[in-house]
């Protein structure tokens, strides 16, 4: 890619709000559901039906606005966006145009090194779903999704690279999940992203003509689309051509974007204020209430985990990935576990278990205090790490506490040097050939001796001490 040109990128993200009911009617907003079973006169656009605003959707949008440092409008207006399409039952969408609910916020990326400004966040309703039937002359329409609440988050064109775009999206996704307003699932479509991209010569102040790329279903596809489109536009300009304001559709299989609609055919949406709805009021009181109830946000939590718990950035990243995991972690530490040890356990054994069982931390059967007990037993040397893992498994299976299990099965780690030495001597005596080969240079046999020693002590020997003792004994036999 030419280095003379830089890409200037803005992202438009749609997030489906996880309310129980739809934006303008009481139908269930739940994902899935048999086709056309969550539909009523309002979201079907039957004649005479009227929209009524879902107060919780407004609250969710305000939450997001505050979390991204936006200004919240006390009064904003819904507007009709007029276009014909089979997934759009009224052939207009109720959205916001002139007066979005939230404006002029930002999201920081690269460890706060860069701010991506958020131009606006507004509320609107989702369309139904079109199901394309291969080879058929018809398409099918499912209206379950019609009317589900969406927020549209439009960034300023502050992004310059695919990586920045990806990080911005990750941050946004993490944020909406933290706020409990959206499950952020790009594959299921609860988070969608369109890319607006233009290129210009490096150092130039003016923006080039931008194109829009739609139909991106993963962060990876966003990055690929940005790379593709940057190259396409750059090549075009370098060969003396001009970029036209097109809308392109991303083809994930072919990894290319194809022009879908040119500017000439661009829509005239004929926006006008929605006469069926009153002015949307977000009172100062509502805003303060939502602000007061905001959880600690991911960035702030990350910083705090690093400073308060002395964790490396990587650990803080993983642990603050979800508000629930972070909260669990803090409870483990609060119950007395060492912060780094607790982190290792959470990132390791616990996450592995959650992934295998495909459960959330909320469904994890070991409570923080119980985990803390285990973590401390290992950290203080009472059990070695492989024993600890066994105890962990049994805790899951039986629900018993770590201390009880260790006691019952007599698993306390043997750290007594004399006891270990006795067993070590026995091991060396029983394996003279291996001793000879070790002394002849095969130093990796140390593992074999330690392994045998662990067998004899039924895993209870402190492996570190065992290794030391065996090594010392072996060198005496030279």
């Amino acid at each position: 890619m030419s280095n003379n040109y830089e890409a200037v990128i803005g992202l438009e993200v749609h997030a489906q709000l996880s309310t129980a009911s739809k934006m303008f009617c009481g139908c269930s907003a739940e994902f899935g559901g048999k086709p056309n079973t969550h539909v009523c006169p309002v979201c079907l656009g039957l004649p005479g039906a009227l929209p009524v605003v879902n107060a919780r959707a407004v609250e969710f949008a305000v939450r997001l606005g505050l979390a991204t440092e936006c200004t919240i409008r006390n009064e904003s207006v819904f507007a009709r966006k007029n276009y014909f399409y089979p997934d759009c039952p009224k052939n207009y969408q109720i959205s916001q145009f002139d007066t979005p609910l939230c404006e002029h916020g930002r999201l920081s990326i690269e460890n706060d090194a860069k701010q991506v400004r958020i131009l606006r966040i507004h509320l609107e309703e989702d369309a139904g779903k079109l199901v394309h039937v291969d080879g058929a002359d018809h398409s099918l329409v499912d209206m379950n999704r019609s009317g589900v609440p969406l927020v549209e988050i439009v960034s300023e064109p502050d992004i310059r690279t695919p990586e920045e775009a990806s990080e911005y999206l990750q941050k946004l996704r993490s944020l909406v999940r933290y706020l409990g307003i959206c499950d952020g699932n790009m594959e299921e479509g609860s988070l969608r992203c369109d890319v607006n991209l233009s290129v210009r010569k490096r150092g130039a102040k003016e923006l080039g003509v931008k194109a829009e790329v739609k139909n991106l279903n993963s962060f990876k596809q966003v990055e690929q689309a940005i790379e593709f489109e940057t190259e396409r536009q750059t090549k075009l300009l370098e060969s003396g051509g001009r970029v036209t304001q097109d809308t392109l559709l991303w083809d994930p299989a072919a990894k290319r974007a194809v022009v879908m609609r040119s500017k000439e055919e661009a829509h005239d949406y004929r926006y006008f204020p929605e006469p069926d709805l009153r002015v949307l009021r977000a009172s100062g009181e509502l805003i303060e209430r939502v602000r007061g109830a905001l959880p600690e946000l991911p960035d702030a939590k990350h910083k705090r985990f690093v400073s308060q718990y002395g964790l490396p950035a990587y650990d803080a990243d993983v642990l603050t990935g979800s508000a629930e995991v972070a909260s669990y972690y803090e409870a483990v530490v609060a119950a007395g576990a060492d912060s780094k040890a607790a982190s290792n356990w959470l990132m390791g054994e616990v996450m592995r278990e959650l992934n295998e069982r495909k459960i959330d931390i909320a469904e994890f059967s070991i409570r923080p205090q119980a985990l803390a007990e285990l973590v401390t037993l290992q950290a203080t040397g009472k059990v070695n790490s492989s024993t600890a893992k066994d105890v962990f498994k049994e805790m899951l299976a039986s629900g018993k506490h770590a201390g009880a299990i260790v006691k019952e099965r007599g698993l306390e780690q043997v750290s007594d040097d004399a006891a270990i030495e006795k067993e070590a001597i026995a091991v060396l005596d029983e394996n003279p050939e291996e001793v000879k080969r070790y002394l002849g240079g095969k130093e990796q046999l140390l593992q074999f001796f330690v392994g045998q020693l662990m067998k004899r002590t039924r895993g209870k020997a402190n492996p570190k001490v065992a290794a030391e003792i065996v090594t010392a004994l072996l060198s005496e036999r030279r």
Binding site: A20, C27, V39, A55, H138, H267, V279
Partner: protein, 102 residues
């Protein structure tokens, strides 16, 4: 002033409004729309300097919103029952090219 409306304008409006007029209708509507637009031009004489537009008619300053509660939906048979073309589960429409608006 009513010359603003010519056949091209009417064709453009047909596209936007998805109405396919017959050639006779295009002729007649072009003329009539022209006169109507000429008629509403008198609005240009109104003194609206500094006047806020009225976009909604509610006399009350309060809001009207609903709680986030799920209520019952229509039976699918009712939803699809009057569709000119439908399967047991879906509305059926002529094939749509591409993904978003036309």
């Amino acid at each position: 002033m009513s010359n603003k409306i010519d056949r091209d304008v009417v064709h453009h409006l047909e596209r936007l409004a998805r109405i396919d007029l017959s050639p006779d209708e295009v002729e007649m509507i072009t003329e009539q729309l022209g006169r109507i637009v000429g008629f509403v031009e008198k609005l240009q004489a109104a003194n609206v300097e500094g006047i806020e537009p009225t976009s909604a008619m509610s006399h009350e300053a309060t809001e009207h919103v609903r709680d986030d509660v799920v209520t019952s939906s229509l039976d699918r048979a009712v939803v699809l029952g009057q569709a000119p073309d439908a399967t047991q589960e879906y509305f059926r429409v002529p094939r749509v090219i591409g993904k978003a608006d036309e």
